[in-house]
Symmetry: C2
Subunit: 232 residues, 2 copies
DNA sequence: GCGAATCTTTGCGGCGGATCAAAGCGCTGC
DNA sequence: GCAGCGCTTTGATCCGCCGCAAAGATTCGC
C-alpha cells in the first residue's frame, strides 16, 4: 500500500514518466518519504542542495529572500510536481526556501541518486530538460506581466493561475484550496498587502470573488479573466 | 579552418562541453552555419521550433511581444551561448524572437539532431539541464528585482550585468560592446525610455557613466554597484 | 551635404500605488 | 469563553514614475 502509492506518484511526475517499472523500483529504494505539517520547512535558501522533492500530497510554497530581507514567492508546488530543481542541475546550494502550506507528504531523492539515474536513463534527463524549461517559460511570463501590466491585472492573473493549479469546485465558485493571505498575494505580484486588500474588496463588491481570512473563492472566473486580459 | 573554428565554439558551450571529438564531428555534420547582419532575424515568436542556435560570434537579442504589442527583452545572447532553448525541451513553437544586434555568426542545430544526441549521450542531456536551470535562476533573479527594487536600482543592475557579459575595457571605462538604446534598457527593466534617459543623465552628471546614442560606458563600476545594492 | 528618420533630452502635470496610521475582525489556545 | 495575536480593512497623504509634448542631437541615405 505504502510502496504502491509512492510508485504511483513518482511515475505520474513529468520527470519520471515512462520510466520502466524496474527502474522505478530501484528509484524507490533510494527515495525517502517525509510527512510535513503545515508550516514545516522542507529546505532553506542557502542549504546544500542534496535532496530534491516530489510532492505526493499537499502543497509547498517556494520563496526567495533578498539581501535586505524582502520576500518573494517564486511558486506554489502541488502533487506530482517538484521542489528543489537546483539539485537536478547539480548546483551546490538551494537558491530558495520551501515550506509546507498544507499538511503534506513529499518524497526526497538525493542528488547522487538522480544524477546516476539521469546518466543511465537519458530519457529522464530529457524529461528534466522539459520540466525546467516549463518553469523557465512560466518565469518569463511572470516577468512579462510584471513589466507590462498594472497591479490589478497582475493580481487577477495570479489568482486565476492558482485557481487552475489548486482550485476546488464549490457551490459558490472555485476555491483556492490552501490558505492564501493578502501578504502572500502581494509577494507573488510585487505589491503590498494593502493594495491587494483594496483590490479584492473592490472585486468582492462587484461579485467577482468572495474572500476572507487567508481564503479566496473565484465566483466569476470568466469576468475575472476578462479583467486580466484587458489592456491597462 | 572553417570546420575547426566551428568545432571550437561548439565544444566551448556549456551544452557540448566534454563531448567526444567523434561525436562533435558528427554533430558538426548536421549543423548549419549562418551569417547575420545587424538587425537580421534568427527566428520569430510563434515559428515552429525546429532549430536552435549556438552563437559563434556577435550577439542576439531575444524578445517577447505581448498580445497587446508591448515588447520585453528576455536576454542578450553572446558567443558560446544558446538561443532557442525551446527546441531542447521539445516544445512546438518558439516562445520568443531572436534578432542580431551586431554582425553575427550562428550555428543552427535541428531538433532531431539534438534530441538524438541527447538520447545517445546522456551527458549532453545533463548539460542541457544545467544550461536551462542557469537561465531559470537568472529569470528568478530578475523577477525578484522587478518585485522589490525601484527603477534606478533595476537599471543599475541591468547595466552592470551587460557590462559583465559584453563589456570591453577602454580608456574611459567599460563599454557595452553593442548598440543599446534607452528603449532597449526600458524593455529590460520594465520602465519607459524617458525614465531611463533621465536616470542616465543624472548618472552622467555624477560621472558614473558616459552614454550617448545607443552607447553606454560605465566609468565607475564600483560606485554604480554601490548604488545597485543600496536599499531602496 | 542636406533632409529625413531615429534616438535622446527635458519640462510639466497627473495618477497609481506605496506608506503611515488605526481600527475591525476572526482564529486559536488555554 | 475570553484574551490576544495575526490578518484584514480603510482612510489620508505623498511621491516615484508615467504619459504627453516638443525641441535637440546624431546618424543615414541619396
Amino acid at each position: 500500500m505504502h510502496g504502491t502509492a509512492e510508485q504511483d506518484i513518482l511515475c505520474r511526475t513529468d520527470l519520471f514518466r515512462g520510466l520502466s517499472p524496474d527502474s522505478l523500483r530501484e528509484l524507490r529504494r533510494s527515495a525517502s518519504r517525509r510527512r510535513l505539517a503545515i508550516q514545516d520547512p522542507v529546505f532553506h535558501q542557502g542549504d546544500p542542495a542534496e535532496t530534491f522533492y516530489v510532492v505526493a500530497e499537499g502543497r509547498l510554497r517556494v520563496t526567495q529572500t533578498t539581501a535586505d530581507g524582502q520576500q518573494v514567492i517564486i511558486r506554489y508546488v502541488g502533487p506530482a510536481e517538484l521542489a528543489g530543481l537546483a539539485v537536478l542541475a547539480g548546483d551546490d546550494l538551494h537558491p530558495s526556501t520551501a515550506t509546507a502550506v498544507a499538511d503534506s507528504e513529499v518524497i526526497g531523492i538525493s542528488r547522487a541518486a538522480i544524477r546516476e539515474i539521469m546518466a543511465r536513463h537519458p530519457e529522464v534527463a530529457v524529461n528534466a530538460v522539459s520540466v525546467i524549461a516549463a518553469r523557465y517559460r512560466e518565469m518569463q511570463q511572470r516577468l512579462r506581466e510584471m513589466s507590462t501590466q498594472n497591479v490589478e491585472r497582475r493580481i487577477a492573473h495570479t489568482i486565476l493561475r492558482l485557481a487552475r493549479e489548486a482550485g476546488r469546485r464549490t457551490a459558490r465558485g472555485i476555491e483556492i484550496a490552501f490558505p492564501l493571505s493578502r501578504q502572500d498575494l502581494a509577494e507573488m505580484t510585487g505589491t503590498t498587502l494593502h493594495t491587494v486588500s483594496r483590490t479584492l474588496s473592490a472585486w468582492e463588491s462587484r461579485g467577482l470573488v468572495d474572500s476572507g481570512r487567508r481564503r479566496v473563492v473565484v465566483r466569476r472566473p470568466h469576468e475575472l479573466a476578462m479583467l486580466a486580459d484587458a489592456t491597462g
